[in-house]
Symmetry: C2
Subunit: 215 residues, 2 copies
């Protein structure tokens, strides 16, 4: 009976992680559109959803601590719960990073935060970050889904685009003002960190399935 | 007897956190000097110590999970261990952020990553971040030390300097090239995030002492 209660509690933790990850996909989608299309309404939406998601992550942490206290799990069960705390922290950071991207768009509105020469790069970064966040939703719902390789490939492409932004900004042809330089530097960094967190979460989930860290 | 073993284990967790935090102060000290004085030897020192500190944080997490499994702590004891996991994650990030500052210095060497007009600002940011990290060492060694207010004041000053860097870079008088703009934008962000983590850790420790979140 206690085991059944515990399984039920683990299921709730999982469902809440899926919910928070789904929020994160929405924040990134709004933030990326806000940033690449100077849409201030979407920016505001991303910023408030990021706050809400931070609160949900805190509430989930409290639930996990209550379960740890009541059930005193060991071995794999314990690792699942500790991993849930870490994944919740990563998801909270991903929401905050996407929120930062939206804030840049909001700050420059009605102007654009990206010069034309980098627009398609940031559109692609946003698409990749969104695809990566969607894979985390799937992976949290079913840890056996085989997405590890595509996550790695997409993260590498994000890193490549991040370097491309830097090469562009630091190249001889870059004639944009410092406002653009600052905005694209930070936005690129936020996109890249967002993808890093996806890789971290995927490594933690793979550890739970295989028992071996492979990061 | 079990209680004595547990107290001994908690003591080891605390000592390891103090050790990792002490590493972080060294990384920030080397990184800040490397960055403001273009010292590549100090930059290398900061970068390798940051890697080592990441490994120590991982090892500490494993120790905490073993204690959770063996002792099944509840109430305050459980919260101390969960907080230790979070503090270890924050310290690891602080080491990584300071490492990133050192990497900027290394990348620009033998040139400087900061234009003269911002040197004193970054010297002050480095001094503040180092002071903040030192307070975390003290707080981890003795959670009753009364440093919460000075941590808040110093974090606010770091935020002020961070805004000053942005105002300078985005002002009409800024004539530096994009390399400087990118370097100081990222370095300022890393200093600011470093201080944020100190505030987070101090809030978690204050929660352990008072039982109330005050962040």
């Amino acid at each position: 009976m206690a085991r059944e209660v515990f399984q039920q509690e683990l299921k709730e933790v999982q469902e809440r992680l899926v919910e928070i990850a789904t929020d994160v996909t929405r924040i990134m989608q709004s933030a990326s559109h806000a940033f690449t299309k100077s849409d201030v309404a979407l920016a505001d939406q991303a910023i408030s959803l990021a706050e809400l998601t931070g609160d949900k992550a805190l509430a989930l942490d409290e639930l996990v601590i209550r379960i740890l206290a009541r059930q005193s799990p060991v071995a794999r069960d314990l690792r699942i719960l500790v991993s849930a705390l870490r994944i919740s922290a990563s998801l909270e950071r991903m929401g905050a990073l996407a929120g930062h991207i939206a804030q840049i768009a909001r700050f420059r509105y009605p102007g654009s935060a990206i010069p034309e020469s980098l627009r398609s790069t940031f559109v692609e970064m946003g698409v990749l970050d969104l695809a990566l966040a969607n894979k985390i939703v799937k992976l949290l719902a079913d840890p056996d889904v085989d997405v590890a390789r595509s996550i790695q490939a997409e993260d590498e492409r994000v890193d490549e685009l991040h370097r491309h932004v830097f090469d562009t900004v630091l190249g001889d042809d870059w004639k944009e003002n410092a406002v653009f330089t600052v905005d694209v530097t930070l936005a690129s960094r936020y996109h890249e960190r967002f993808a890093d967190h996806v890789v971290d979460i995927s490594a933690k989930l793979s550890y739970l399935t295989t028992g071996e860290w492979n990061d």
